[in-house]
């Protein structure tokens, strides 16, 4: 049996760990709330953007814009949104593995698949396995629209220069605090959503400037909004995942402390018993 001292040492060390995981859980909980608020706040914008796009698209014939045009898809760009920091359970690993699987599946279809990573963890995972086209670390700590817009412009430029023919974004979307959904979303070319069955097409809009010009403006914006939304969701998911992971880590630590304390008490008891035995037997021999 381990010595009393070594058990005591382990108890102290596990207690320290528990302190840290508990603190991290608290921090994540606070950050999660803010991230959740951001997601909710961004929702109306994305929704309205969708509505405007819809009403434009319903007046649209054919492929009027290069971003809508379907090309022979040969080169694929996969955008992987992960977190910058670890210690959040399977949040990053699951996503990266899903990305890996996706790439394997698609390898037959495409001549070339490149990866764009947002967040440090995804970059670390994927950089040795695939060609990383570009990396955007450190924009997730405080997700802002400008960063998303820059990223989107980069992606669109590359697309227009035909560096790739299809863009798919992979991210953890926020479902509940406990669970995130791994989501694949096609960004480019833009697939117009199913036209609303409600007959709104009857409304004749006045467009200023022309539909084409408006579309040329709004399509890139739409990409920006989609990326922004994905970033927010991913951040909220990250904090949720970290909170859950840290919670179970704290629980495990408590359990371990319990076990170790039991061991410690037993060892102490055993030591006392042997000591007593020695004294008693010593006393007996003197008497004898």
């Amino acid at each position: 049996m381990a010595s009393l001292k070594s058990i005591k040492k382990r108890i102290v060390s596990v207690k320290n760990t528990r302190q840290i995981t508990k603190a991290m859980k608290m921090v994540s909980a606070a950050k999660l709330r803010r991230a959740q608020e951001n997601v909710v706040a961004a929702r109306p914008y994305a929704q309205k953007m969708g509505e405007v796009l819809q009403s434009l698209a319903s007046n649209l014939e054919g492929d009027q814009h290069p971003l809508l045009e379907k090309r022979d898809a040969k080169k694929l760009l996969l955008i992987v949104v992960t977190s910058d920091r670890g210690l959040c359970g399977g949040f990053n690993t699951n996503l990266c593995k899903a990305g890996e699987r996706y790439i394997k599946e698609k390898q037959a279809e495409f001549e070339q698949i490149s990866v764009l990573t947002v967040g440090r963890k995804g970059h670390e995972f994927l950089k040795n396995r695939h060609t990383v086209y570009k990396n955007f670390p450190n924009i997730l700590a405080k997700p802002n629209y400008q960063a998303a817009a820059l990223l989107a412009q980069d992606v669109i430029e590359g697309y227009l220069a035909e560096e790739y023919d299809q863009v798919v974004m992979l991210f953890n979307s926020f479902r509940t605090v406990m669970s995130q959904d791994i989501t694949f979303q096609q960004l480019l070319p833009i697939v117009p959503e199913e036209k609303a069955t409600v007959d709104e097409a009857g409304v004749e809009y006045i467009y200023e400037p022309s539909v084409g010009d408006l579309l040329a403006d709004i399509l890139p914006k739409n990409i920006e909004v989609q990326i922004f939304k994905a970033m927010l969701e991913s951040v909220a998911g990250e904090h949720g995942a970290r909170m859950t992971a840290m919670d179970s880590a704290s629980k495990n630590a408590s359990e371990m402390i319990g076990k170790l304390t039991l061991q410690y008490n037993r060892a102490r008891q055993a030591a006392i018993t042997t000591e007593l035995m020695e004294i008693i037997s010593g006393a007996e021999s003197i008497k004898g």
Binding site: P44, Y45, Y205, E208, P209, L214, F228
Partner: protein, 138 residues
């Protein structure tokens, strides 16, 4: 005036405004335009510029940054990247931004990729100062 329009201003960070108003004036890509209740369905893109609305006779002025303006059945949706009411604008910051943008523009050639970015920054700062100036005069 009995009739009113519902004005919603939405940015990626929040919903700035959701009110019933009498009259709206905004800066479109092709120039300034005004909208009254009963306007035909209308969709346009907005430039960096000002937007006024009148509510119960009180005019409010806002600085907008790039967006869309849609009206349909007396419901106005304005999608913008930023929207600030005149009393929310930080004049000092706008002035600093103006100085920065001007300095940068002098260095860069018009063909530079960043030229447009700073041009837009300059415009934004100007509009902010304009709007803030109007609030101060009141």
């Amino acid at each position: 005036m009995a009739e009113k329009m519902k004005l919603e201003i939405v940015t990626p960070y929040n919903k700035v405004l959701d009110e019933l108003v009498d009259e709206v004036t905004a800066t479109g890509k092709l120039g300034e335009f005004g909208v009254l209740p009963g306007h035909a369905p209308f969709l346009t893109s907005l430039n960096i510029g000002e937007l006024y609305y009148k509510k119960d006779g009180v005019a409010v002025c806002m600085a907008l940054n790039w967006g869309y303006f849609e009206i349909q059945e007396d419901r106005i949706i304005v999608l913008v990247e930023t929207a600030e009411r005149s009393d929310e604008i930080d004049l000092e910051r706008a002035k600093a931004a103006l100085g920065r943008a001007e300095a940068k523009l002098k260095e860069l050639s018009p063909e530079d990729k960043n030229f447009k970015i700073y041009e837009a920054a300059l415009e934004r700062a100007l509009v902010r100062m304009q709007v803030a100036g109007k609030a101060a005069r009141k």
